[in-house]
Amino acid sequence: MTDKRIDEATNTETMGHEWDGIEELNTPLPRWWLYTFYACIAFAVGYAVVYPSVPLIHEGTHGSFGWTSRGEYAAEKKAEAAQRAPMLAALAKTPIEDLPKNPDLTRQAVAGGRAAFKVNCVQCHGAGAAGSVGYPNLNDDDWLWGGSLTDIQQTLTHGIRYPGDDQTRTSLMPSFGHDKILTPAQVQDAASFVRSLSGLEPKGAAAQRGAEIFATNCVACHGPDAKGGRQFGAPNLTDRIWLYGGSREQVVGSITNAHAGVMPAWGQRLDPVTIKMLAAYVHSLGGGEAFAAPTPVAK
């Protein structure tokens, strides 16, 4: 350690230490720099007082204005709801069949429906509404119970075969094999016929026999031309779309055991406006019937 001295070349005081002949100049920082630092400290103290910051044993300090991130979130939610209120009110007033006359409202309904779908429907119908075996694909042009806005709204509200809703859509296919209405051989023949309708199998002898079985047992619901009927939600057996699969085993299984898929009556859980929005969204997926669907808004 040497004593502090003034460096002659620069007229600056040294720090008073020296290593191997190298000394450090005591070049001062500007004072405003110091004041800026003090100002930052003051700001930090103020910040800690105003906002919740200091953790204590059971909970932290609350801050002088009681601000919380939850409170902020609640306020944002409230503001959002207030912003959406006019749209929801307009939607509540508009009968669903009049929706296509108001493209703007429809667009908003579709957007709302998309969000509601993500919460309530994707569990069965999938994120892209493409369904899976036993859960209908909502993008295609095949509708068991009808694909107009009103039909979809009805299905959504009351569900399908949903116990506890007396307006639910309902029908029952007999378990032809299980209940021994048909012998296993007859079931096989009927399956051959059904598959031949959509070109999955040639129309051989089995299919010929199956045609007769079909005429006596199935036409009541599926119709003489096997095109199905929406009154009973009976599938069209001549198209390429299979709710429970079109392979031989799957068709045989369907005839033997019968399926009776259930969809909840969402009217019991969701408000009518949400159901309207859901119907608009499902209708907009590309297969909606009876009305032209509107252009979606870009996101």
């Binding site: 002659e8 070349a9 004072r31 110091l34 892209g128 493409a130 390429r240």
Partner: protein, 491 residues
């Protein structure tokens, strides 16, 4: 890269400092700001500085008021940053967000432009065009206007706070305030229609963000230009550090020719009469005779000062002058000084100029050849394809038609590929499916349209293109290549 000491020698032994305002040796970590009272000076560089200042301020204040006719569908302000609609208008150029590379290109050009200027004329940006310099200069003129020249200013600064001094200070600070508010106020006009906004500002109906922007910018102008001044250049701005690293022995810098000036003093033989005028006029408060230093912004006011002294004492001008280190060495050895015009052109300057021009030309070319329509297609991936009841396969796309002209344009969308495929939009229905759709896109708009493409049963996965053609006189075609998904191996 060289050290900033132009002579390449150890710094001279400091003589007793002439000015009472020179920093005194002090202990402690923090130094009180030494106020700078630059003396008024006239000369060729001062007049150049006046000129540059006038041009800079004129550009800043007048640009938002220039009009530019873009027809009925677009704003008629020549330069407008329209944040709400995400457009940037600059005379005949209109930049969309996806064309932001133009802005990036301009920024790169600005960067290389600074290198170019530094390489050619040293820190001329700092000395003349930097906003900090321009506004500091402005405030220093205001000081002189209210308080008189250097000596009067020093006297007043040291005087006790009497009512008279307070009154003078308050009136000066009110003018400061006016300048600050005008500075902040001009900025907002770049972001909205200037006449409308001006009317709103004065009638108190402008949006809150306009007032807060004015307040923030007025505050920073007051702080940085009114009070921090040279402290910004020395302590806050990163650019002098970068520039110091970019200076080489071929860069023009302001140099005191000590081989000519020393020894100083009236009757000591050197040209420098030690009048100290060069230090008194310096806006950053340094003495250039100590050698090149970071506080020097090469404004050349000291050259003006010394040239005046040399004229009076009958010596040739240029004791302090723009010179390169290389040239200084030559001159020290007895060669005559090289002309500045010659010094500007050397390899580095030419390389920067070449680079700068190349980027400029590329941008101009891109600007001239860009299409004023665009298409983007987002394919539905969930589900990737849809089997219809008749076995046909349907894919869905969100097609964005973009009209970048300021008038509505008729456009046609056609399907490229998969001969049997047809498309329909949601407003149409499958029955009307076709291979080409037409619609008119409003001025300056992007219109999203959900498009369904259907292909016959058995179609395999393959490429699919959408072509968007403007069918007006101007024309233009853009294409987007995407894909058509189908079940594995057809069905």
């Amino acid at each position: 890269m060289v050290s900033l000491n132009p002579q390449g020698q150890p710094t001279r032994k400091q003589r007793p400092l002439p000015s009472a305002l020179k920093p005194k040796p002090q202990s402690g970590l923090y130094e009180k700001k030494q106020p700078v009272f630059p003396r008024k000076i006239d000369g060729r560089f001062r007049r150049l500085k006046w000129g540059v200042m006038a041009v800079c301020l004129a550009i800043y204040y007048l640009t938002p008021w220039l009009r530019w006719n873009r027809g009925p569908y677009a704003p008629d302000q020549a330069v407008l940053i329209d944040l709400a609609h995400r457009r940037f208008y600059m005379f005949s150029i209109e930049i969309w967000p996806q064309e932001f590379y133009f802005v990036a290109g301009l920024l790169i050009m600005a960067g290389i432009g600074l290198f170019l200027v530094t390489s050619a004329v040293g820190r001329a940006w700092c000395g003349y065009a930097c906003p900090q310099t321009v506004w500091t200069d402005l405030f220093q003129h205001i000081d002189r206007w209210f308080d008189g020249d250097r000596n009067a200013q020093i006297r007043l600064a040291n005087a006790p706070w009497t009512a008279g001094k307070l009154a003078r200070r308050l009136s000066k600070w009110s003018l400061y305030l006016l300048v600050n508010v005008a500075t902040g106020g001009a900025w907002i006009f770049y972001f909205a229609d200037a006449p409308t906004l001006a009317h709103q500002v004065f009638t108190g109906t402008a949006p809150a963000i306009a007032y807060s922007t004015i307040a923030v910018l007025a505050g920073t102008t007051l702080w940085l230009g009114g009070f921090m001044r040279e402290q910004v250049c020395v302590y806050m701005c990163p650019w002098p550090r970068i520039q110091s690293a970019m200076l080489d022995e071929k860069s023009l810098i302001v140099t005191y020719k000590d081989w000519r000036g020393e020894p100083r003093g009236k009757s000591s033989g050197g040209d420098c009469v030690d009048c100290n005028l060069c230090a008194a006029v310096c806006p950053t408060g340094i003495d250039i005779r100590d050698g090149a230093q970071i506080g020097c912004i090469t404004c050349a006011l000291c050259i003006d000062a010394c040239d005046g002294v040399m004229a009076k004492t009958g010596r040739p001008r240029g004791l302090i002058d723009y010179a390169t280190l290389e040239d200084s060495e030559k001159e020290r050895a007895g060669a005559p000084p090289t002309s500045h015009a010659k010094l500007i052109w050397h390899a580095r300057t030419l390389i920067y100029l070449g680079l700068w021009s190349a980027i400029g030309c590329a941008l101009l070319f891109a600007l001239g050849t860009r299409e004023h329509l665009a298409i983007s297609v987002a394919k539905d991936r969930n589900p990737p394809f849809m089997l219809m009841s008749d076995g046909a396969i349907r894919n869905a796309y969100l097609v964005k038609w973009r009209n970048m002209e300021d008038r509505p344009r008729p456009m046609r969308l056609t399907l490229d590929g998969i001969p049997g495929a047809r498309m329909w939009s949601e407003e149409m229905g499958k029955a009307q499916a076709t291979r080409q759709l037409t619609r008119t896109i409003p001025a300056d708009q992007t219109e999203p349209l959900r498009i369904y493409v259907i292909a016959p049963a058995g179609t395999a996965q393959q490429p699919l293109g959408f072509t968007l053609t403007a069918t007006d006189a101007q024309g233009g075609t853009v294409r987007y290549d995407t894909r058509f998904d189908a079940p594995e191996g057809g069905q």
